[in-house]
Structures are given as C-alpha cells and as structure tokens.
C-alpha cells in the first residue's frame, strides 16, 4: 500500500527525494530519505563540505505533501508547489543522515491545501515551516 503510494509520485531518479513511506493517510504523512554521499549534487554542494541542499529538503516535503493530497485516489499524484511559508533551517544535513519528513494537512480548500511540514534527523528538527500545494 505504502510502496504503491510512492509509485504514484510522478518524480523519478534523479529527482525523487523520498525513499520510503512510514505513515500515510489523507491528513498526514511521514517518510524517510537516506542521504547518501553518492548523490550527484554533493560533487558541487560542496566539494570540501557536502551538505544536503535546503531546497531539496523543501522538495522532499512537497513530494510528501502531494502524496497526502493524493491519498485514497487512483492514478499519479498531481500537485504543484504553490507556496513556501517561513521554512526555517536549523542545522545542516550531511551524508549518512536519515532524514525523516512529516507533512500534516492544515486546510484543503477545493484543491489548494496548506501543510505544516517538518524534517528531522535522529529526532532533532532540522527544518520546519509550511507549504501550500495546488492540484490545478
């Protein structure tokens, strides 16, 4: 069920930033992204000090939020990132970390939905804030 949900993401390698879904329903999702040193962007971000880009944490949050919106529906997830609200990055994410992403639906008004999102490593929050996703 959860792996099928992951298959509904239109994203694929090298632009999928969710490896596994831990929990998913129409209100909330929790997913994991393992940060591997082999990922291509680490060649430049940064050569001497590999850091998982903050924008890609937002991307993972957006992918998961899309899955929450699509939960219970058939076919590919089709949700566009419409707004990034006050996302704060508290500490860097580096190769070897396991990023746990959470997205919780706040409000869905006819296909435009706001989410409260956070990402953590070893139970420490590394980023949090809000996103708005739109299905049309």
């Amino acid at each position: 069920m959860k792996s099928e949900a992951l298959d509904s993401l239109p994203h694929s390698y090298p632009f999928r930033f969710i490896d596994r879904i831990l929990e998913l329903d129409s209100k909330k999702g929790i997913a994991v992204k393992n940060i591997s040193v082999n990922e291509p962007f680490f060649q430049g971000h940064f050569k001497e000090e590999p850091i998982f880009p903050g924008v890609l944490i937002i991307e993972a949050m957006a992918e998961l939020s899309g899955l929450v919106m699509n939960c219970g529906k058939t076919g590919k997830t089709k949700a566009y990132l419409a707004r990034v609200k006050d996302i704060k990055f508290k500490t860097v994410v580096v190769p070897g970390d396991q990023l746990v992403i959470e997205a919780e639906l706040e409000q869905n008004l006819s296909g435009i939905a706001s989410f409260s999102v956070k990402a953590s490593v070893s139970n420490n929050i590394v980023a949090d804030g809000g996103l708005v996703m739109a299905t049309a």
Binding site: R83, E106, Q107, L109, S110, I112, A113, S114, V132, A134
Partner: protein, 84 residues
C-alpha cells in the same frame, strides 16, 4: 461588530502581508479581483486558515468560501452568524 471588522482588517494585512494599513481597507472593499485588494486563491486559503485560528470559524467547502470571502462585511456577518 465593528470590533470584529477591525480585527479582520488587521488579520488581512498581517496574514496576507498586504502593503497597506488595516484602516485603509473599506468594509465593502472587494477582496478579490481588480479594483479591490486583488487577492488570489492562495491568499483565500491563508484567509480560511486565519479565520479558523483567530476567529474559530470553519470554512470547508468552496461554495461557502465563495459566499463568505467577498468583503470584510460578508466575513464579519459569517462570524456573527456562526456565534448564534
């Protein structure tokens, strides 16, 4: 009632980051479209979240949203109506 309207206008400016003062918004100023505040559908969602958090009123469907989110007056009427 006028208290609610003042509070609503302040919420509009703060939540939607409008570049104007709360008192510059008229009670009947259109929230959407040209000639009004020019809000969009993403602002509408933010407004619905704000109404729930700050005024404890829930708008769950589009039909209600279209009737309520017209002006400060229509939202204030909805909040008043929800109390009774």
């Amino acid at each position: 009632m006028s208290d609610i309207k003042e509070k609503l206008k302040e919420m509009l400016v703060k939540r939607l980051k409008l570049k104007m003062e709360a008192k510059a918004i008229g009670d009947n100023t259109a929230l959407f479209g040209e000639g009004g505040l020019g809000l969009d559908s993403i602002d509408a969602l933010e407004l619905v979240v704000g109404l729930q958090k700050e005024f404890n009123v829930v708008i769950n469907d589009k039909a209600v949203a279209e009737k309520v989110l017209i002006s400060v007056n229509t939202i204030a009427d909805f909040i008043e109506g929800a109390k009774t």
